[in-house]
Protein backbone atom coordinates (compact mmCIF):
# COMPACT_ATOMS: atom_id res chain seq x y z
CA UNK A 1 0.00 0.00 0.00
CA UNK A 2 2.94 2.34 0.68
CA UNK A 3 3.95 2.76 -2.95
CA UNK A 4 0.41 3.36 -4.19
CA UNK A 5 1.14 7.06 -4.16
CA UNK A 6 4.00 6.53 -6.58
CA UNK A 7 1.71 4.58 -8.91
CA UNK A 8 -1.40 6.76 -8.66
CA UNK A 9 -0.21 10.32 -8.20
CA UNK A 10 1.30 10.76 -11.70
CA UNK A 11 -2.23 10.18 -13.05
CA UNK A 12 -3.94 12.74 -10.81
CA UNK A 13 -3.27 15.86 -12.97
CA UNK A 14 -4.94 14.18 -15.96
CA UNK A 15 -7.86 13.01 -13.81
CA UNK A 16 -8.34 16.58 -12.52
CA UNK A 17 -8.26 17.93 -16.06
CA UNK A 18 -10.82 15.39 -17.31
CA UNK A 19 -13.07 16.07 -14.31
CA UNK A 20 -12.83 19.81 -14.78
CA UNK A 21 -13.62 19.55 -18.51
CA UNK A 22 -16.70 17.46 -17.67
CA UNK A 23 -17.96 19.72 -14.88
CA UNK A 24 -16.63 23.23 -15.65
CA UNK A 25 -16.23 23.75 -11.90
CA UNK A 26 -12.89 23.49 -10.12
CA UNK A 27 -14.16 22.49 -6.65
CA UNK A 28 -16.71 20.01 -7.99
CA UNK A 29 -13.99 18.52 -10.19
CA UNK A 30 -11.72 17.92 -7.21
CA UNK A 31 -14.63 16.37 -5.29
CA UNK A 32 -15.13 13.98 -8.18
CA UNK A 33 -11.40 13.14 -8.31
CA UNK A 34 -11.32 12.56 -4.55
CA UNK A 35 -14.34 10.28 -4.79
CA UNK A 36 -12.64 8.43 -7.65
CA UNK A 37 -9.38 7.94 -5.75
CA UNK A 38 -11.17 6.78 -2.58
CA UNK A 39 -13.04 4.23 -4.62
CA UNK A 40 -9.86 3.16 -6.38
CA UNK A 41 -8.11 2.62 -3.02
CA UNK A 42 -10.98 0.55 -1.66
CA UNK A 43 -11.12 -1.56 -4.82
CA UNK A 44 -7.39 -1.81 -5.36
CA UNK A 45 -7.17 -5.49 -4.41
CA UNK A 46 -10.00 -6.47 -6.77
CA UNK A 47 -8.42 -4.63 -9.72
CA UNK A 48 -7.49 -6.85 -12.67
CA UNK A 49 -3.71 -7.07 -12.58
CA UNK A 50 -3.39 -7.02 -16.38
CA UNK A 51 -5.82 -4.12 -16.78
CA UNK A 52 -4.52 -0.75 -17.84
CA UNK A 53 -4.43 1.40 -14.69
CA UNK A 54 -5.17 4.67 -16.46
CA UNK A 55 -8.27 3.34 -18.25
CA UNK A 56 -9.45 1.77 -14.97
CA UNK A 57 -9.18 5.07 -13.08
CA UNK A 58 -10.81 7.14 -15.80
CA UNK A 59 -13.64 4.62 -16.05
CA UNK A 60 -14.24 4.93 -12.28
CA UNK A 61 -14.28 8.72 -12.58
CA UNK A 62 -16.67 8.69 -15.51
CA UNK A 63 -19.04 6.24 -13.82
CA UNK A 64 -19.06 8.30 -10.61
CA UNK A 65 -19.80 11.38 -12.69
CA UNK A 66 -22.70 9.70 -14.51
CA UNK A 67 -24.10 8.31 -11.23
CA UNK A 68 -23.94 11.75 -9.59
CA UNK A 69 -25.66 13.32 -12.59
CA UNK A 70 -28.45 10.72 -12.48
CA UNK A 71 -28.89 11.22 -8.74
CA UNK A 72 -29.10 14.99 -9.17
CA UNK A 73 -31.74 14.48 -11.85
CA UNK A 74 -33.78 12.18 -9.63
CA UNK A 75 -33.60 14.69 -6.80
CA UNK A 76 -34.77 17.37 -9.20
CA UNK A 77 -31.78 19.63 -8.66
CA UNK A 78 -31.38 19.92 -12.40
CA UNK A 79 -31.45 23.50 -13.71
CA UNK A 80 -34.83 24.94 -14.59
CA UNK A 81 -35.84 25.23 -18.23
CA UNK A 82 -35.72 29.05 -18.00
CA UNK A 83 -32.15 28.91 -16.83
CA UNK A 84 -31.21 26.60 -19.68
CA UNK A 85 -32.62 29.10 -22.17
CA UNK A 86 -30.66 31.92 -20.60
CA UNK A 87 -27.51 29.91 -20.59
CA UNK A 88 -27.89 28.85 -24.19
CA UNK A 89 -28.51 32.41 -25.31
CA UNK A 90 -25.47 33.56 -23.40
CA UNK A 91 -23.38 30.78 -24.84
CA UNK A 92 -24.51 31.57 -28.38
CA UNK A 93 -23.56 35.21 -27.99
CA UNK A 94 -20.31 34.18 -26.46
CA UNK A 95 -19.68 31.74 -29.28
CA UNK A 96 -20.40 34.44 -31.82
CA UNK A 97 -17.92 36.81 -30.18
CA UNK A 98 -15.30 34.20 -29.45
CA UNK A 99 -15.74 31.41 -31.91
CA UNK A 100 -12.56 29.80 -30.70
CA UNK A 101 -13.77 29.09 -27.19
CA UNK A 102 -13.96 25.38 -27.76
CA UNK A 103 -14.22 24.65 -24.05
CA UNK A 104 -17.50 26.57 -23.84
CA UNK A 105 -18.77 24.74 -26.91
CA UNK A 106 -17.80 21.42 -25.36
CA UNK A 107 -20.16 22.13 -22.47
CA UNK A 108 -23.09 21.90 -24.89
CA UNK A 109 -22.31 18.33 -25.85
CA UNK A 110 -23.77 15.22 -24.22
CA UNK A 111 -21.43 13.50 -21.77
CA UNK A 112 -20.38 10.68 -24.08
CA UNK A 113 -19.34 13.05 -26.85
CA UNK A 114 -17.45 15.18 -24.32
CA UNK A 115 -15.64 12.11 -23.02
CA UNK A 116 -14.71 10.97 -26.53
CA UNK A 117 -13.20 14.33 -27.43
CA UNK A 118 -11.42 14.66 -24.09
CA UNK A 119 -10.00 11.16 -23.79
CA UNK A 120 -8.81 10.90 -27.39
CA UNK A 121 -8.11 14.52 -28.25
CA UNK A 122 -6.69 15.76 -24.94
CA UNK A 123 -5.57 12.78 -22.88
CA UNK A 124 -4.16 10.91 -25.90
CA UNK A 125 -5.97 7.69 -25.05
CA UNK A 126 -5.80 5.02 -27.73
CA UNK A 127 -9.14 4.11 -29.32
CA UNK A 128 -8.94 0.80 -27.52
CA UNK A 129 -8.40 2.44 -24.10
CA UNK A 130 -11.25 4.82 -24.82
CA UNK A 131 -13.51 1.91 -25.72
CA UNK A 132 -12.66 0.39 -22.32
CA UNK A 133 -13.48 3.57 -20.42
CA UNK A 134 -16.77 4.11 -22.26
CA UNK A 135 -17.70 0.44 -22.25
CA UNK A 136 -18.41 0.31 -26.01
CA UNK A 137 -16.84 -1.62 -28.93
CA UNK A 138 -13.84 0.02 -30.56
CA UNK A 139 -15.70 0.45 -33.88
CA UNK A 140 -18.36 2.45 -32.05
CA UNK A 141 -15.65 4.73 -30.66
CA UNK A 142 -14.47 5.54 -34.20
CA UNK A 143 -17.90 6.39 -35.61
CA UNK A 144 -19.00 8.35 -32.54
CA UNK A 145 -15.76 10.32 -32.47
CA UNK A 146 -16.46 11.58 -36.00
CA UNK A 147 -19.98 12.64 -35.02
CA UNK A 148 -18.78 14.35 -31.83
CA UNK A 149 -16.27 16.42 -33.80
CA UNK A 150 -18.90 17.45 -36.34
CA UNK A 151 -21.19 18.57 -33.59
CA UNK A 152 -18.50 20.51 -31.76
CA UNK A 153 -17.57 22.25 -35.01
CA UNK A 154 -21.19 23.19 -35.61
CA UNK A 155 -21.49 24.72 -32.13
CA UNK A 156 -18.24 26.65 -32.45
CA UNK A 157 -19.20 27.98 -35.89
CA UNK A 158 -22.94 28.61 -35.51
CA UNK A 159 -23.79 28.34 -31.80
CA UNK A 160 -25.96 25.62 -30.24
CA UNK A 161 -29.25 27.10 -31.50
CA UNK A 162 -28.07 26.86 -35.10
CA UNK A 163 -27.22 23.24 -34.51
CA UNK A 164 -30.64 22.55 -33.02
CA UNK A 165 -32.34 24.11 -36.05
CA UNK A 166 -30.26 22.10 -38.41
CA UNK A 167 -30.87 18.86 -36.57
CA UNK A 168 -34.60 19.50 -36.87
Amino acid sequence: MADLGVVLEPLIPALRRYAYALLHDHAAADDLVQDTLERALSRWSSRRADGELRAWLFAILRNRHIDAYRQARRRGTEVEIDEVDHRETATRQEAAIEARDVLAALEQLPEEQKSLLLLIGVEDFSYEETARVLGVPIGTVMSRLSRARQRLRSIVEHGPAALLRRVK
Binding site: M1, L4, P13, L117, L118, G121, R149, R153, V156
Partner: protein, 261 residues
Protein backbone atom coordinates in the same frame (compact mmCIF):
# COMPACT_ATOMS: atom_id res chain seq x y z
CA UNK B 1 1.35 6.71 -56.46
CA UNK B 2 0.57 9.95 -54.70
CA UNK B 3 -1.31 11.05 -57.79
CA UNK B 4 -3.83 8.23 -57.28
CA UNK B 5 -6.93 9.16 -55.30
CA UNK B 6 -6.73 6.38 -52.71
CA UNK B 7 -10.08 5.87 -50.93
CA UNK B 8 -9.85 7.40 -47.46
CA UNK B 9 -12.15 6.26 -44.66
CA UNK B 10 -13.63 8.44 -41.93
CA UNK B 11 -11.61 6.59 -39.29
CA UNK B 12 -8.44 7.55 -41.16
CA UNK B 13 -9.53 11.16 -41.27
CA UNK B 14 -10.08 11.09 -37.50
CA UNK B 15 -6.69 9.45 -36.96
CA UNK B 16 -5.26 12.24 -39.10
CA UNK B 17 -6.96 14.86 -36.89
CA UNK B 18 -5.43 13.12 -33.88
CA UNK B 19 -2.00 13.01 -35.56
CA UNK B 20 -1.92 9.25 -35.29
CA UNK B 21 -1.07 8.37 -38.89
CA UNK B 22 2.48 7.57 -39.92
CA UNK B 23 4.32 8.43 -43.11
CA UNK B 24 2.61 6.80 -46.12
CA UNK B 25 -0.96 6.94 -44.81
CA UNK B 26 -0.58 10.52 -43.65
CA UNK B 27 0.75 11.47 -47.06
CA UNK B 28 -2.19 9.73 -48.70
CA UNK B 29 -4.68 11.63 -46.53
CA UNK B 30 -2.96 14.94 -47.21
CA UNK B 31 -3.01 14.27 -50.95
CA UNK B 32 -6.70 13.40 -50.74
CA UNK B 33 -7.47 16.58 -48.80
CA UNK B 34 -5.53 18.65 -51.33
CA UNK B 35 -7.97 17.52 -53.99
CA UNK B 36 -11.08 18.10 -51.85
CA UNK B 37 -11.05 21.69 -50.53
CA UNK B 38 -14.33 21.41 -48.59
CA UNK B 39 -13.18 18.32 -46.74
CA UNK B 40 -9.80 19.94 -46.20
CA UNK B 41 -11.46 22.91 -44.55
CA UNK B 42 -13.53 20.66 -42.31
CA UNK B 43 -10.52 18.61 -41.21
CA UNK B 44 -8.46 21.74 -40.66
CA UNK B 45 -11.21 23.13 -38.40
CA UNK B 46 -11.32 19.89 -36.43
CA UNK B 47 -7.56 19.94 -35.99
CA UNK B 48 -7.71 23.58 -34.82
CA UNK B 49 -10.44 22.80 -32.34
CA UNK B 50 -8.58 19.82 -30.99
CA UNK B 51 -5.46 21.95 -30.52
CA UNK B 52 -7.53 24.71 -28.96
CA UNK B 53 -9.15 22.32 -26.47
CA UNK B 54 -5.77 20.93 -25.49
CA UNK B 55 -4.37 24.42 -25.03
CA UNK B 56 -7.32 25.58 -22.91
CA UNK B 57 -7.01 22.56 -20.62
CA UNK B 58 -3.24 22.50 -20.44
CA UNK B 59 -3.13 24.77 -17.40
CA UNK B 60 -5.40 22.47 -15.42
CA UNK B 61 -3.01 19.52 -15.69
CA UNK B 62 -0.05 21.74 -14.81
CA UNK B 63 -1.55 22.69 -11.42
CA UNK B 64 0.09 21.10 -8.38
CA UNK B 65 -1.93 18.31 -6.77
CA UNK B 66 -4.01 19.72 -3.86
CA UNK B 67 -3.22 18.23 -0.45
CA UNK B 68 -6.66 16.67 -0.11
CA UNK B 69 -6.05 14.57 -3.25
CA UNK B 70 -2.66 13.28 -2.12
CA UNK B 71 -2.70 9.49 -1.88
CA UNK B 72 -1.07 9.63 1.57
CA UNK B 73 -3.88 11.92 2.78
CA UNK B 74 -6.57 9.66 1.37
CA UNK B 75 -4.91 6.54 2.78
CA UNK B 76 -4.66 8.08 6.26
CA UNK B 77 -8.36 9.02 6.16
CA UNK B 78 -9.19 5.55 4.94
CA UNK B 79 -7.15 3.90 7.71
CA UNK B 80 -8.92 6.07 10.29
CA UNK B 81 -12.29 5.01 8.89
CA UNK B 82 -11.28 1.33 8.89
CA UNK B 83 -9.94 1.63 12.47
CA UNK B 84 -13.25 3.11 13.64
CA UNK B 85 -15.13 0.31 11.95
CA UNK B 86 -12.77 -2.34 13.34
CA UNK B 87 -13.21 -1.04 16.89
CA UNK B 88 -16.98 -1.28 16.47
CA UNK B 89 -16.61 -4.84 15.20
CA UNK B 90 -14.23 -5.65 18.07
CA UNK B 91 -16.75 -4.33 20.59
CA UNK B 92 -19.48 -6.43 19.04
CA UNK B 93 -17.22 -9.51 19.09
CA UNK B 94 -16.34 -8.88 22.75
CA UNK B 95 -20.01 -8.85 23.68
CA UNK B 96 -20.53 -12.03 21.74
CA UNK B 97 -17.56 -13.71 23.40
CA UNK B 98 -18.79 -12.81 26.91
CA UNK B 99 -22.23 -14.17 26.08
CA UNK B 100 -20.75 -17.14 24.28
CA UNK B 101 -18.32 -18.16 27.03
CA UNK B 102 -21.02 -17.91 29.67
CA UNK B 103 -23.10 -20.28 27.59
CA UNK B 104 -20.15 -22.59 27.12
CA UNK B 105 -19.48 -22.59 30.85
CA UNK B 106 -23.08 -23.48 31.56
CA UNK B 107 -22.82 -26.21 28.96
CA UNK B 108 -19.97 -27.70 30.99
CA UNK B 109 -22.38 -28.36 33.82
CA UNK B 110 -24.89 -29.97 31.46
CA UNK B 111 -27.93 -27.64 31.41
CA UNK B 112 -27.50 -25.04 28.67
CA UNK B 113 -28.52 -21.41 28.88
CA UNK B 114 -31.82 -21.44 27.08
CA UNK B 115 -35.35 -20.48 28.01
CA UNK B 116 -37.77 -23.07 29.40
CA UNK B 117 -41.32 -22.33 30.49
CA UNK B 118 -41.50 -24.38 33.77
CA UNK B 119 -38.11 -22.99 34.74
CA UNK B 120 -39.47 -19.51 34.25
CA UNK B 121 -42.16 -20.12 36.88
CA UNK B 122 -39.51 -21.34 39.32
CA UNK B 123 -37.29 -18.34 38.59
CA UNK B 124 -40.18 -15.94 39.07
CA UNK B 125 -41.20 -17.58 42.37
CA UNK B 126 -37.61 -17.44 43.55
CA UNK B 127 -37.23 -13.79 42.58
CA UNK B 128 -40.49 -12.83 44.30
CA UNK B 129 -39.45 -14.65 47.50
CA UNK B 130 -36.04 -13.04 47.31
CA UNK B 131 -37.55 -9.57 47.01
CA UNK B 132 -39.85 -10.27 49.95
CA UNK B 133 -37.38 -11.66 52.47
CA UNK B 134 -33.94 -10.47 51.50
CA UNK B 135 -34.78 -6.98 52.77
CA UNK B 136 -36.09 -8.41 56.03
CA UNK B 137 -33.82 -7.31 58.89
CA UNK B 138 -35.62 -8.64 61.96
CA UNK B 139 -36.78 -12.01 60.57
CA UNK B 140 -34.96 -12.83 57.39
CA UNK B 141 -35.34 -16.54 58.16
CA UNK B 142 -37.89 -18.68 59.95
CA UNK B 143 -35.37 -21.14 61.33
CA UNK B 144 -31.83 -20.01 61.94
CA UNK B 145 -28.62 -21.73 61.06
CA UNK B 146 -28.14 -22.81 64.70
CA UNK B 147 -30.78 -25.39 64.03
CA UNK B 148 -29.49 -26.33 60.58
CA UNK B 149 -30.15 -30.03 60.97
CA UNK B 150 -33.68 -29.39 62.14
CA UNK B 151 -34.21 -26.81 59.40
CA UNK B 152 -33.16 -29.15 56.64
CA UNK B 153 -35.15 -32.08 58.00
CA UNK B 154 -38.21 -29.92 58.34
CA UNK B 155 -37.94 -28.41 54.89
CA UNK B 156 -37.11 -31.78 53.35
CA UNK B 157 -40.18 -33.32 54.92
CA UNK B 158 -42.52 -30.55 53.85
CA UNK B 159 -41.02 -30.46 50.39
CA UNK B 160 -40.90 -34.21 49.91
CA UNK B 161 -37.30 -33.87 48.77
CA UNK B 162 -34.12 -34.45 50.71
CA UNK B 163 -32.65 -31.00 50.97
CA UNK B 164 -29.01 -30.27 51.65
CA UNK B 165 -27.55 -26.82 52.18
CA UNK B 166 -24.73 -26.36 49.67
CA UNK B 167 -21.51 -24.91 51.07
CA UNK B 168 -21.05 -21.52 49.45
CA UNK B 169 -18.12 -20.45 51.67
CA UNK B 170 -15.77 -20.46 48.65
CA UNK B 171 -17.90 -17.62 47.31
CA UNK B 172 -17.95 -15.78 50.64
CA UNK B 173 -21.55 -16.71 51.48
CA UNK B 174 -22.54 -18.48 54.69
CA UNK B 175 -25.92 -20.00 55.50
CA UNK B 176 -28.25 -17.82 57.63
CA UNK B 177 -31.24 -20.17 57.74
CA UNK B 178 -34.40 -20.85 55.83
CA UNK B 179 -38.16 -20.65 55.62
CA UNK B 180 -41.15 -22.38 54.18
CA UNK B 181 -43.21 -20.61 51.50
CA UNK B 182 -46.20 -21.33 49.29
CA UNK B 183 -44.88 -22.38 45.90
CA UNK B 184 -46.91 -23.42 42.89
CA UNK B 185 -49.38 -26.12 43.93
CA UNK B 186 -47.41 -27.03 47.06
CA UNK B 187 -44.64 -25.75 49.26
CA UNK B 188 -41.37 -24.06 48.52
CA UNK B 189 -38.25 -23.77 50.64
CA UNK B 190 -35.92 -20.82 50.72
CA UNK B 191 -32.40 -21.04 52.12
CA UNK B 192 -30.77 -17.69 52.73
CA UNK B 193 -27.05 -16.97 52.64
CA UNK B 194 -25.18 -13.80 53.48
CA UNK B 195 -21.65 -12.59 52.85
CA UNK B 196 -19.54 -10.44 55.21
CA UNK B 197 -20.74 -7.27 53.48
CA UNK B 198 -24.36 -8.25 54.20
CA UNK B 199 -25.13 -9.18 50.62
CA UNK B 200 -27.73 -11.92 50.55
CA UNK B 201 -28.23 -14.90 48.28
CA UNK B 202 -31.11 -17.34 48.29
CA UNK B 203 -31.55 -20.88 47.15
CA UNK B 204 -35.18 -21.61 46.31
CA UNK B 205 -36.60 -25.11 45.86
CA UNK B 206 -40.07 -26.35 45.01
CA UNK B 207 -41.80 -29.16 43.20
CA UNK B 208 -41.95 -28.63 39.47
CA UNK B 209 -42.76 -30.61 36.34
CA UNK B 210 -39.95 -32.08 34.35
CA UNK B 211 -36.71 -33.87 34.92
CA UNK B 212 -33.65 -32.08 33.77
CA UNK B 213 -33.93 -28.84 31.84
CA UNK B 214 -31.73 -25.99 30.77
CA UNK B 215 -30.35 -23.28 33.00
CA UNK B 216 -32.46 -20.17 32.80
CA UNK B 217 -31.13 -16.73 33.61
CA UNK B 218 -33.47 -13.98 34.69
CA UNK B 219 -32.80 -10.42 35.77
CA UNK B 220 -35.28 -8.50 37.93
CA UNK B 221 -33.87 -5.09 38.67
CA UNK B 222 -30.67 -5.72 40.64
CA UNK B 223 -31.56 -9.31 41.41
CA UNK B 224 -30.25 -12.02 39.13
CA UNK B 225 -31.59 -15.58 39.11
CA UNK B 226 -30.38 -18.83 37.65
CA UNK B 227 -33.12 -21.48 37.67
CA UNK B 228 -33.28 -25.08 36.51
CA UNK B 229 -35.39 -28.17 36.99
CA UNK B 230 -33.98 -31.48 38.14
CA UNK B 231 -35.92 -34.69 38.83
CA UNK B 232 -39.29 -33.11 39.58
CA UNK B 233 -37.97 -30.15 41.52
CA UNK B 234 -37.27 -26.62 40.50
CA UNK B 235 -34.19 -24.87 41.88
CA UNK B 236 -33.21 -21.24 41.75
CA UNK B 237 -30.22 -19.23 42.96
CA UNK B 238 -30.90 -15.52 43.34
CA UNK B 239 -28.57 -12.71 44.38
CA UNK B 240 -27.70 -9.08 43.77
CA UNK B 241 -24.95 -10.09 41.41
CA UNK B 242 -24.04 -10.01 37.78
CA UNK B 243 -24.70 -12.96 35.57
CA UNK B 244 -20.97 -13.69 35.48
CA UNK B 245 -20.67 -13.65 39.28
CA UNK B 246 -23.74 -15.77 39.81
CA UNK B 247 -23.05 -18.45 37.24
CA UNK B 248 -20.20 -20.22 39.13
CA UNK B 249 -22.32 -20.17 42.30
CA UNK B 250 -25.24 -21.72 40.43
CA UNK B 251 -22.85 -24.36 39.15
CA UNK B 252 -21.65 -25.15 42.68
CA UNK B 253 -25.23 -25.33 43.95
CA UNK B 254 -26.24 -27.61 41.11
CA UNK B 255 -23.34 -29.95 41.93
CA UNK B 256 -23.89 -29.71 45.70
CA UNK B 257 -27.59 -30.48 45.49
CA UNK B 258 -27.29 -33.31 43.06
CA UNK B 259 -24.41 -35.50 44.14
CA UNK B 260 -23.93 -37.85 41.22
CA UNK B 261 -23.41 -41.51 42.03
Amino acid sequence: MTGEDVPIGEDELQAFVDERLDGPRRDAVEAHLARHPELRERIAAERRQRASLRAQLQGKAAEPIPARLRIATLQAARRARLARRMSLIAAAVAIFVVGGSAGWFANGLRPALVAQAPTTAVAQGAAAAYRTFVVEVAHPVEVGVAQETHLLQWLSKRLGHKLVAPDLAPFGYRLMGGRLLPGGSGAAAQLMYEDTAGKRLTLYVRAADGTETAFRFQQDGDAATFAWIDQGFGFAVTAMASREELLPIAEAVYKGLTPKG
